[in-house]
Amino acid sequence: MEHRILAPTGALGAGFDLTGFSRGVALRPHVIACDAGSTDSGPSALGSGRPKLSDAAVARDLRHLLRARADLGVPLIIGSCGTSGRDDAVDHLAGLVRDLCRADGLRARLGRVYADQPADRLTRLWDEGRIRALPHAPAVTRETFADGHVVAMMGAEPIEALLEDGCEVILAGRASDTALFAALPHLRGADPGPTWHAAKTIECGAACAVPPSANGLFAYVRDDHFDVTVLHPGARLTARSVAAHTLYENADPFRVIEPSGVLDTAGASYEEIDDTTVRVRGSRFEPAGEYTVKLEGARLAGHQTVIVGGVRDRVVIRRLPELIDMAQGYFAAKITDVFGGRVDPADVDIDFRLYGAGAVLGAHEPDKHDPAELGVLITVTAPEQETARAVATFVAHAASHLPMPEYDGLVTTIAYPFSPPETDRGPVYEFTLNHVVTGITPTELFRSSVEAL
């Protein structure tokens, strides 16, 4: 038995080449699947609900996928809608699907699966001892679950339920990237070893191609192996490039953890069938003793105003770190003075990053070299935007006129490229959880809805 999967791009909205996509459609896939989210761009999307990619770019990709799906009469599965996989992002994408279907005269049975987790459910699970920390998890309390926005990452089962219900377009909230591709073969009884390894290989689109690209891949899942082939003209796949993909963004290159078990690729072999196709054998899937679902949470960390500048004078470059340390005391006193005690200096964070002097690696920078120019990024984070901005204005002013012991008189110590130098960044967020829920059924944390378009 053969199960054919088309993965048109690594991320909905990232784009893909239409020649390669048409080739994939011509290979008659049983399912088209595409991931639309990640935590990779940080906590902002989950905290704010604002997606990383624009509606225009997402709609461009979606239109081609909806038309191809309708022509083939196969399901289209989109996961982690709107980058975060929040409920509101699923609904927003559903709106785009409705608009595109109406404009193109397409009909489809639309299924949505939601991944938001209400605080009362999470605190109950916590009280029952069913929330467990994963490695490197931050400290949490019972209150953490009500603070910010939490989604659970679904496995294949909630998606399979909608496929069984006859849904033709499935929009999932936060979902395991691999589950989107594994759901249909899994439902049709494919061997889980090749299924999950094929899913892992194609979920980033043509990221494992030579050269890597945002375009798509095609997988044939068969009884004891899978074939993966590149679609974009001129791109190649090698045994090594496919094998290497299990490394990407994984802590462990051999064991990929899913809610229902672990994909073990340690015994896999990779064989080049031709320049564009690689055959993979020997992947195994070990079912987990207990089903677990991962939680992701992000909460508001404050509001931010930033200032960017540069320094060219060697004397200032040498003096700047010590002057900044001294200035912090001045800023604290100034906050108390300016706000008449209404703002506690401890609630405002004023951070200087000196690009050219360890800004990227911070305290871990081993190479303390002597830059000719220094980039200065000042971030002011406060509970309210108004406070952040007010503090940033006097920080920018004071930082540009630092007292230089070497000079008799006033100098301007930072070059600002903007007027005004301060830019409001708005709300900023932080991740709160790296935990799993235990002792649950695969579908119990997710709700779904179905409608006819």
Binding site: G42, A251, D252, Y270, A301, N434
Partner: protein
């Protein structure tokens, strides 16, 4: 003396989720992969000292099928947390590029 780029076709760092930092060292070919493994340079001790974590928290895994060595450790600063300057953790390998390694046999 040689550097990592004499052995590797690709050196990268990346998030493996918001709480884990991971490195991929992709050797140029089988010969350089074997030689790189034999140097023992990419050790838990090296990463423990660079990123100030316990050696026991650093996992080094050779991946022969990919001619690669993988290294994972707790992210020095949680992604997006205050003080994080590298959202994708994409430049964390920087200091390793200056590391000196044994000259490769021709």
């Amino acid at each position: 003396m040689a550097t990592l780029l004499d052995y590797c076709a690709l050196v990268r760092s990346k998030n493996a989720g918001p709480f884990t930092l991971t490195f991929d060292f992709m050797a140029k070919d089988e010969r350089t992969f074997t030689a790189l493994c034999a140097t023992g340079a990419l050790s838990p001790g090296l990463f423990a000292s660079l990123f100030h974590v316990a050696e026991t928290e650093v996992v080094v895994t050779p991946v022969p099928a990919a001619l690669a060595i993988k290294v994972s450790l707790p992210r020095p600063v949680v992604q997006g947390a205050r003080g994080d300057s590298d959202t994708y953790a994409g430049q964390q390998y920087g200091p390793l590029m200056a590391m000196t390694l044994p000259e490769l046999d021709r």
